[in-house]
């Protein structure tokens, strides 16, 4: 079971055990990680699961598809390493992935 680390904007960290095949968003929400909402249940419809992929991991996650990129442009404080975490699926090679969270999703 891969581990994903979520780092809040104030530095607080939480490491969660994620299930293979679930989205990073769902791993966060299931473990009550504050700062990720995922209001639309992962259907890429709300941009409230926004996270920043840590620099060290940026080249190791698959790139976003066009629709995610479009929705992402509407999130708060978007940066080059921004992703909608409902579109990132947990695979064995993402064990140890670090996601930083924005100060707010709304």
């Amino acid at each position: 079971m891969p581990t994903i680390r979520f780092v809040q904007s104030d530095g607080a960290e939480q490491a969660v055990h994620a299930e293979l095949g679930q989205s990073v968003m769902q791993a966060a929400v299931n473990n009550q990680v504050p700062g990720i909402l995922g209001d639309c249940g992962g259907s890429c419809s709300c941009a409230t699961c926004h996270g920043y992929v840590d620099e060290a991991w940026n080249d190791r996650v698959p790139p976003p598809e066009g629709y995610e990129t479009d929705m992402l442009s509407c999130a708060m404080d978007v940066r080059p390493n921004s992703r909608l975490t409902c579109q990132l699926n947990v695979t064995p090679d993402l064990d140890g992935l670090v996601i930083r969270l924005p100060a707010s999703q709304t």
């Binding site: 929400v29 473990n31 009550q32 419809s45 941009a47 509407c74």
Partner: protein
């Protein structure tokens, strides 16, 4: 409302609103017990995938749950499933369950949702008992449908709303023969402009769906052995052979418990902007609630996931003594084929429709204006225009229809510039 967070909170219902409420209430600081009672056996789950990925067999039951059982255990939430609440006793502060138990409460949350509207007339009730006739609202409904959802099966869908059209799209993808019967003159008549209805009729017909609007069911023909629907007979005389019938003609809010308990009910359980009912210790949230909305200056009952979630969060705060009035622009989504329809706002009363993009293609936005301001928007595969529309509506921004329609003008240029 007294602010003792050490009491017993009981949530009637275990749907989306209830699931968010249970955990949010604990996170908001509730220290007493939290019990969530659901009529279905399942933990709270998302319904949108029932007519999409779950019907298509691309998602399994566990993936629908809002949270796994462990999350509720950690939050100290007790879940009682497969149990109906039969009666609310406000004087004694009890709920009476179908299994004979009575549970005490200090604060009560009504998250009873709704049930499918059943077809009236003819032999609809007899047909509904047939194994190949289904309404679609629950995981169990779709499990039964999935067992019959095969290539070549002749499917008749009664109802050209979101559920009917989503099922049609999945069915075509799986190689079923599909007929959609819609009683109104066009599909999605309740919620969109004729131009948008027309677009969806064109798309579905191009995918091979036989869309028949202005068509009502006269009766269901049963097969000679009397144990299955064999055909659907329409009022215009058409007889459509059917192996499978799925009906999606709307939702009726479950307000009976509230009504019997003497709470105010009017197109839903009546609440204020903080989800409080006419009883100071009872809140109501989600599909069953009728709540005020300042943006539209009227009361609404919304059947949407964002509404369920936001009301749950407001109610959790309210029970812990914090007032967070809920007043948001409604929004909704529907996925059919590769098209991502996202809607925001409510279009009733619009005086001008502005189209941006071409309804002859596969991506456009339809903006509903009233006196130059946006009431609502239907966006097809245009997520940025959907997100911007929420702002146009919420902030009552005055719009120039010509610029709104002009795709060479970036939509965000129509936002007011900072002073």
């Amino acid at each position: 409302m007294s602010m003792d967070t050490n009491g017993k909170a009981v949530i009637v219902g275990a749907g989306h609103a209830a699931g968010v409420m249970a955990v949010s209430l604990r996170e908001a600081g509730w220290q007493g017990s939290i019990v969530m009672i659901g009529e279905e056996a399942h933990l709270p789950y998302q319904r949108p995938p029932l007519s999409k990925a779950f019907l298509a067999g691309e998602a399994e039951v566990e993936q629908l749950y809002l949270k796994p059982a462990a999350t509720y255990e950690r939050a100290g939430v007790e879940f009682i499933g497969a149990t109906r609440v039969e009666r609310i006793d406000r004087a004694a502060r009890l709920v009476h369950l179908a299994d004979g138990r009575a549970l005490a409460w200090d604060k009560l949350v009504l998250a009873t949702g709704g049930r499918v509207r059943r077809l009236a007339g003819a032999n609809a009730e007899a047909a509904a008992r047939m194994p190949n006739f289904h309404y679609l609202r629950t995981i169990d409904d779709v499990m039964r449908i999935r067992a019959q959802f095969h290539h070549g099966v002749r499917l008749v869908i009664v109802g050209g709303g979101y559920v009917g059209l989503e099922v049609a799209a999945i069915a075509r993808h799986r190689g079923l023969q599909v007929t959609v019967l819609e009683a109104a003159e066009r599909v999605l008549a309740r919620v969109t402009a004729p131009e948008v209805s027309c677009f969806y009729e064109r798309i579905h017909r191009a995918e091979g769906v036989d869309v028949r609007t202005g068509t009502q069911v006269e009766q269901f023909e049963l097969d000679p052995s009397g144990d299955a629907v064999a055909a659907v007979v329409c009022q215009d005389g058409a007889r459509i052979p059917a192996d499978l019938v799925i009906v999606g003609v709307g939702l009726v809010p479950n307000t009976e418990l509230a009504q019997a308990a003497g709470l105010e009910v009017d197109n839903g359980i009546v609440v204020d902007a903080c989800t409080r009912t006419s009883d100071p210790d009872i809140v109501a949230i989600g599909d069953c609630s009728n709540h005020p909305n300042d943006i539209y200056g009227r009361r609404l009952r919304l059947e949407s996931v964002p509404n369920a979630m936001e009301q749950a969060r407001t109610a959790a705060a309210a029970l812990c003594g914090v007032l967070k009035p809920y007043n948001a622009v409604p929004w909704f989504w529907s996925d059919q084929y590769d098209l991502k329809l996202k809607m925001t706002g409510l279009s009733q009363g619009y005086d001008q429709l502005v189209l941006r993009g071409d309804t002859g293609g596969r991506s456009f936005s339809a903006f509903y204006l009233k006196q130059g301001r946006m009431l609502a928007a239907d966006t097809v595969s245009r997520p940025q225009e959907f997100m911007l529309s929420k702002r146009f509506i919420a902030e009552a921004i005055e719009l120039d229809p010509a610029r709104l329609a002009d795709e060479s003008v970036p939509l965000k240029d129509l936002l007011p510039t900072a002073p």
